[in-house]
Symmetry: C4
Subunit: 258 residues, 4 copies
Amino acid sequence: MTDKFSGIREQLYVIIFEADTRVGRAFDLTLIVFILLSVLLVMLDSIPELHQQWGSWFWGGELLITVLFSIEYLLRLYCARRPARYALSFYGMVDLLAIIPGYASLFLPGLHLLSTVRILRVLRIFRVLKMVQFMGEGSNLWLALKRSRYKITVFLTTVVTIVVFVGSLMYLIEGSEGGFTSIPKSIYWAIVTMTTVGYGDIAPRTSLGQMVASLLMVIGYGIIAVPTGIVTTEMMRPPPVGGVCPCCGRKVDRAEER
Amino acid sequence: MTDKFSGIREQLYVIIFEADTRVGRAFDLTLIVFILLSVLLVMLDSIPELHQQWGSWFWGGELLITVLFSIEYLLRLYCARRPARYALSFYGMVDLLAIIPGYASLFLPGLHLLSTVRILRVLRIFRVLKMVQFMGEGSNLWLALKRSRYKITVFLTTVVTIVVFVGSLMYLIEGSEGGFTSIPKSIYWAIVTMTTVGYGDIAPRTSLGQMVASLLMVIGYGIIAVPTGIVTTEMMRPPPVGGVCPCCGRKVDRAEER
Amino acid sequence: MTDKFSGIREQLYVIIFEADTRVGRAFDLTLIVFILLSVLLVMLDSIPELHQQWGSWFWGGELLITVLFSIEYLLRLYCARRPARYALSFYGMVDLLAIIPGYASLFLPGLHLLSTVRILRVLRIFRVLKMVQFMGEGSNLWLALKRSRYKITVFLTTVVTIVVFVGSLMYLIEGSEGGFTSIPKSIYWAIVTMTTVGYGDIAPRTSLGQMVASLLMVIGYGIIAVPTGIVTTEMMRPPPVGGVCPCCGRKVDRAEER
Amino acid sequence: MTDKFSGIREQLYVIIFEADTRVGRAFDLTLIVFILLSVLLVMLDSIPELHQQWGSWFWGGELLITVLFSIEYLLRLYCARRPARYALSFYGMVDLLAIIPGYASLFLPGLHLLSTVRILRVLRIFRVLKMVQFMGEGSNLWLALKRSRYKITVFLTTVVTIVVFVGSLMYLIEGSEGGFTSIPKSIYWAIVTMTTVGYGDIAPRTSLGQMVASLLMVIGYGIIAVPTGIVTTEMMRPPPVGGVCPCCGRKVDRAEER
């Protein structure tokens, strides 16, 4: 009987944790649909008009999804090879986080905060995608970012310094009339400007301020080339031995060659 | 007689569907001019002042263009090698879509929607360009996009997750005073901010909100390097055997060489 | 005497048209300073307060600069090898354009338009820079743009189509309340949004409109990778025979090799 | 005794100026923490509400930090191999600038300007980072920028010319109603638009103005590809002989090979 049992556990494991079989893929797809549905539900429930009219339907949908995710969590615990390790892993936490705020929002509806935390279920998308082909590419991106961490640090330090410097300068130049009421607010404006977002809620009025702002815009517009150059260069790095160089197209044969 | 007939059909086919002859190119150019004229007409007709003053002229112009496009459509049907297949193809649909709303808007002027649908004629530009040199380049772009679809999916998933997460966070932090009245509205703000559009209709007021917004801006400003890196890397990929490497300019002779 | 004369002409030619001698470089530098001064003068003169207070000084400065540029133009005509050809060349036109509006604005001060045309003197910067090292790089940039003109055409056609399509869609969705009063205005909004400028003078109010706008923003944010990829790829193209490949660093020896 | 003394000086030098030992790194880290604290303090002190409530605490913190930085400066002077040269070097100036405005703001609290100058301490971050690994990457970035200075000059000249030209054009088209009150203001608008910042405080109202603006936006949106291409190309340049090609990963052995 233990054999049969462990057989079921093994099968469940393959379905729930892996994506190589047809049933496993179907499970993943169903999960993604439910995750998206639950996120949509939280979003719609936050719209006051819809909450008033369809509030009880949303409550029902939330109940259903929370129960389904609870069953899924218990099944994961049941068929995981090392349940404790799973429960304490990052994705185990994410899975747990997908149900606790659900129960909390169902039975403590007054807690605004808890009901919004449910939106973190969107992170579960990554848990499902982790198992499929996509994530290989994702880890490549991650590696490219990791390899260029020094360059990125230098870049970010430069950006922060420029932003602090120009922000303080504008605080002196513009004063409180234009909205530059304090240095932090001026730095906020500098970030809004340098990243080319440009809300316009705070904007320079004086000629000198507009000249400094123009300079900052041109810097911000040009300096974006730096992270772009970094990431592109990293992405073109030769692949591990046995792969094909994306730039020259030559096969990388030996480690020494590189 | 069938011979002479099929000769005319053949000649028409070469003129209408191909662009290798001088007459064929002239036909394509005329078509592009009429497409642009018809799109311009729809645009001008939507301006209330112009509609009131020149409405009947626009009606006349629309009639002329619709009739011309109808004749063209019938000719295409007539000389196509497989008329049914043409009629059901994507470009056949586009060609049909260029005339139906025309007749509808001519004889049912009250239907605002139908008269705007005529603007879809702009898609016909692609149908004409398809036959000329440009499209070779276009298909290269398309191939580059297609080859990097996994990377793009990972990128978009990350962007959507960040936007949902930060949007919900700002909904909690800012509340309804700053315009963050619901999670969907907050997510809309997060997209506006992260893509560096920055309308400023919704903008954070609290210090904490402005700090989170600053972080989102810097992320949005930096993360643009990722699609840029992806597309650039793909464009530099060596072409298939027999092609010329866009990077080194060498001819790629043998598969082993690569 | 003709010999001495042609000697002076030759020397003047070297000073005015070339930049290889010390005097020639000094002349170019002086010219750039006067061009920038004259542009600054036009700019300051357009500020109502300054015009009222310093108007006569600006008039004097304008007189001085116009006379100096006139002398320069006459000298150029005098020492040019083929005066007629110079006068009809692009830069000859630019040189002439630098003085005519000057005289016009001096003696017909009421003509607002003519006095602003003087700002076109800024184009003379290029005429001076043409002769120095910078322009080699400039022509490389130009070549890169020229070589990728098909790709750029496809890109721009796609952008225009998206903008016309989404603009018309938003005209239907939003209507005139949000500022989408006509299709051209909606297309203007679509351009403002897709290029991530985002003034905020026209912005979607309805939920559906904001969803479409979000999509357009993400497209605009991602599609910028395409021109970037095109330009980067073109810039890395191997140089002509005898140069060094910027990518692989190999010397390009023979035309066949490429 | 001189020996013992010079031993202490030597040890201090290693701790303060270098980052190879454990104590040296600890010193650098402590310094960074104090720099960030001092910058935070200046920022918080500039917020009127906080200044009123916690002003005296900020004063105390400022006193502490100024004294600490003074001691550090004296120690640097003491253990530097050539004190005069250190004092006159760029970083020596930055170190001095970190304390003078401190004393000034402590004892001349009325001087708004001096108290803001303290924020320049943020530049000291670079003085600390200079000694660690990061700066190698920074100098690579710097070299890439330096090598492409001609290209960047051409690019900036083009941008400035476009901005001056379009700004003046819009001054003629829009006039003072839309906020285009003078040419400098119009140029400011053109910079805000071309860099895709888009505050929206000045925005075209007329149809013609919106068409010109649309064109400027598309140019600004596309032209960003140029600096990106420049920087990426420079970053991929092969390193000097003996280094490793960032593109192919091969060691560059001989100059002829390249």
